[in-house]
Subunit: 236 residues, 2 copies
């Protein structure tokens, strides 16, 4: 009887710990989402002060990555989770790496916003902002799917990244015509190019997180396989 209570207690604590890292990764996701929004606000308004805040805020994102990863390692060592509990911890440990990289992308966007030369490239900045808002929505939905561990939504989001890729290609083409029309603008257009690239990478990171969600829910690694195969796996 006492043993049963003890087990219940231990398992209750364990569940609380798993809930805790789930909540923390969602809080980290929320912070990264705000960083992305603010970096785009800063780019749209060429607001150097806001951009500076985004750059300074990145250490919080980094700190959360390290702290959550430490907690994941501690849980594995102490609780020796198996099956879906282990997959949850491993999926979270991978997700925070991608969230941290999205944080780095926000810093790149913020740096473009601080660059005084960028102001000559307003029409390009508008395109990047639009693409960035699209990426923000994708990140938001990805975090929602993560909160609900919804593999079907994760698969849909994964597929949607091609739209963001197409937007990105359009911006690159636009950017080339600008440079060809006015070669003196090349250095400043290239600065804008890095911001566009950073936004495009946000979509790739969200795809990775969607793969971890599917891995957690279905126990199946879906990296590097086609959508046909993914869908077959999801039906299992």
């Amino acid at each position: 009887m006492e043993n049963m209570n003890l087990n219940k207690h231990i398992s209750g604590q364990f569940n609380a710990e798993l809930d805790d890292i789930r909540n923390r990764v969602l809080a980290m996701g929320g912070l990264v989402e705000r960083q992305l929004e603010q970096s785009l606000d800063a780019l749209a308004a060429l607001d150097a002060e806001l951009a500076q805040r985004v750059i300074e805020g990145d250490h919080k994102v980094n700190g959360m990555e390290v702290a959550i990863d430490e907690e994941c390692t501690r849980i594995i060592a102490k609780r020796q989770p198996a099956a879906s509990d282990l997959r949850l911890v491993l999926a979270i440990s991978k997700t925070i790496t991608d969230l941290e990289r999205i944080g780095d992308a926000c810093v790149k966007i913020a740096k473009a916003a601080m660059d005084k030369r960028s102001k000559n490239q307003q029409p390009l900045l508008v395109s990047i902002e639009n693409m960035g808002r699209h990426a923000t929505r994708t990140l938001h939905s990805t975090l929602d799917a993560l909160a609900r561990m919804d593999a079907d939504v994760a698969l849909e989001l994964h597929k949607e990244d091609t739209k963001l890729d197409k937007e990105y290609e359009g911006i690159i083409r636009q950017l080339m015509t600008y440079m060809m029309a006015d070669p003196r603008s090349i250095p400043e257009v290239l600065d804008v190019l890095w911001a566009a690239r950073a936004v495009e990478r946000v979509g790739d990171r969200c795809q990775n997180i969607c793969e971890y969600i599917i891995y957690y829910v279905k126990g199946k690694d879906v990296r590097h396989i086609s959508y046909e195969e993914m869908e077959k796996d999801l039906k299992l």
Copy 2:
């Protein structure tokens, strides 16, 4: 007595499993190193056939990532490793992600080598090849440090990445002057730019792997901290 033998046996098997994933991550590293060398050979000679082989070879890299990651998860679930054994498994699980991304960089370099327009940019290609050979040496040394789990070498290599970053900045500047001198060349120079960017990222990935080596050896997460702090940690 029987129990002791059993324990020895289990622990012997466990050690064999740890050796096995260590060997497999090194084999994966060797494959990625060859992919990098061949993608640079293909770029230097604009050898489309070799480039195609690199692109086709990437699925092997991807397959190794998935297989090793599965094995890491299996070991954690079955063996419930603690302390340095657990750190080894987690460090390997992170290392393979970065190796896989270096594999993706090789594909990007190979694609630039296949692009017929690239042949007009021979002087730029020479610069990228030089930078690429530097990155290859860094990868080679990083894999050596990984094989010997040498945290001191890992720290030295981590610091050396600034050299590669400087080379990259030089290429970007060179590339800008080319585009400004001949705006019609902009689309093809941008193709070369992506290859340069991919090479630069190889250095960043090596830095990540060096951080995992230090994490394994010292039990300390050194991401996002300064070299002064890292050195202090290494003396512990």
